[in-house]
């Protein structure tokens, strides 16, 4: 149950609350460059979502298997040269940026070749975007977020597993698609407007992006509400609080909830 809550919150957070484009500003280049037509924007979004998932899978595997101290592969190979104690402490995280960028470029290459060979029609519709994706910040950003949650946590128990990583990547990609499709829809309409000449093109796109970001800020805090709603706890009202299961909810947590409800 806890796992499910975690997954839902990660997905929600990546897709809308902390939207990759409008909150973290990654993937701005295609956001400005490829957002003139809705169908092109959607194609770009799909391509990014696809590649981001593959990159997330690769980066999670490489981080847990090779890079972090005590990872199986690195300690196995180091075991030939070093005593077991030292081998399990080998920390290769300094190489992570180089490894990720190569994982991303090679996965883009493979996806391109595969799609071109087996799904020519698909390739014709969004294959042109694939080479552009290598330098898309969103993908490296997803890898870095995963690394921070695998290697950067204090308790090994809190480290993300593969499921959480893929969910983050998938919904991050979906969030990117949402943002870029909304943007292209607005830009198609903007074409018909009389915009002052200096503001045509990138400038007006930026300002629209600002308004969109403002709108997406409205999602902030939704996750705490959702967490409260789906955590096994009293749904609402004081009656429910009285029947609190003290084994599940510590009375101290409950008091905060009760007090807050009375206030709202």
């Amino acid at each position: 149950m806890n796992y499910l809550i975690d997954i839902v919150l990660i997905a929600l957070s990546a897709a809308v609350i902390n939207n990759f484009v409008l909150y973290y500003f990654v993937g701005i280049c295609p956001f400005i460059g490829v957002s003139k037509k809705v169908d092109m924007a959607f194609g770009m979004g799909c391509a990014v979502t696809f590649v981001i998932c593959i990159a997330a899978f690769l980066s999670w595997s490489i981080t847990t298997m090779v890079l972090i101290p005590g990872a199986p592969v690195s300690s196995f190979f180091a075991g030939f040269f070093l005593p077991a104690e030292a081998a399990s402490k080998i920390d290769l995280t300094v190489l992570s940026y180089i490894v990720y960028i190569f994982a991303i470029s090679s996965s883009v290459q493979f996806v391109e070749m595969y799609v071109r060979k087996f799904y020519p029609s698909l390739y014709n519709s969004f294959g042109v975007f694939l080479p552009l994706i290598t330098t898309n910040c969103a993908i490296l950003f997803a890898c870095l977020t995963i690394m921070a949650n695998v290697a950067g946590v204090e308790n090994p128990q809190d480290a993300w597993d593969l499921g959480r990583s893929i969910v983050l990547a998938l919904f991050g990609g979906i969030g990117f698609t949402i943002a870029i499709v909304i943007m292209s829809g607005i830009r198609e309409e903007i074409e018909l407007c009389d915009i002052p000449k200096p503001f045509q093109g990138a400038a007006i796109t930026m300002i629209i992006g600002g308004i969109l970001a403002l709108a997406f800020m409205g999602f902030t805090g939704v996750d705490s509400g959702v967490r409260k709603a789906i955590t096994p706890a009293p749904a609402e009202g004081t009656a429910a609080v009285m029947t609190l299961d003290h084994d599940h909810v510590h009375p101290w947590d409950a008091r905060v909830i009760v007090k807050e409800m009375r206030l709202s």
């Binding site: 500003f25 300094v94 940026y97 180089i98 910040c137 490296l140």
Partner: protein, 201 residues
């Protein structure tokens, strides 16, 4: 090489006529993300300058050995290495700042500005020209970042570099230091630059 710009031309071009942010629209990700204060913006500008300078010099040194289909790999490898070095140095000597900048330092790797300069200038011209190009572009990038950060920090917190400048009666426009403020400030500044350009010509 006759038709290639000279070192001085490269240097001057980077600052205004071909400003990476306002004219070429390159490196937008850090431009928007770290300009909520002057301090992070300047740290970012310095890191980009370091990486760009080193990458340009290395690329220019090995330009004779580059093969067309392998050059992107070599560029990426070079850039990623110098970014890692910059990241480690920041973490060792400016720990709080490196925490504030977070993932945006490693994201320099995919900053189009650097790979574009390697491709356009450093892989074709000699080391001195490449270095002066890097310095010029870095100054241009730094100026662009500073202009955005100045507007955002001044309006958003009433100060610069964390020092209060506007009178305390100033109601802080919190929105300016939040994500929407970044988009709107950049949009307006971009429009202004275009407008000035149009008036001049």
């Amino acid at each position: 090489m006759a038709d290639q710009p000279t070192a001085l031309e490269r240097f001057v071009q980077g600052i205004l006529p071909e400003n990476p942010v306002y004219r070429q629209l390159l490196g937008m990700c850090p431009t928007l993300a770290v300009t909520n204060g002057m301090k992070p913006a300047m740290t970012m500008a310095c890191s980009v300058a370091f990486v760009l300078l080193c990458a340009n010099i290395v690329t220019s040194l090995i330009r004779g050995l580059l093969k067309p289909h392998l050059r992107i790999v070599v560029f990426t490898l070079t850039i990623a290495t110098f970014v890692t070095i910059a990241d480690r140095v920041l973490a060792a000597y400016l720990y709080q700042m490196s925490k504030t900048l977070g993932p945006y330092i490693p994201l320099i790797i995919v900053n189009c500005l650097i790979i574009c300069r390697c491709e356009v200038c450093a892989s074709k011209q000699n080391v001195f020209t490449a270095a002066s190009d890097a310095v010029g572009q870095s100054i241009g990038f730094g100026l662009a970042l500073a202009s955005i950060a100045m507007v955002r920090e001044l309006l958003g917190t009433g100060g610069l570099f964390g020092i209060a400048i506007l009178p305390t009666a100033w109601p802080d426009w919190v929105i300016m230091v939040l994500p929407p403020g970044a988009f709107i400030t950049l949009g307006l500044l971009l429009g202004c630059v275009n407008w000035l350009e149009m008036r001049r010509s």
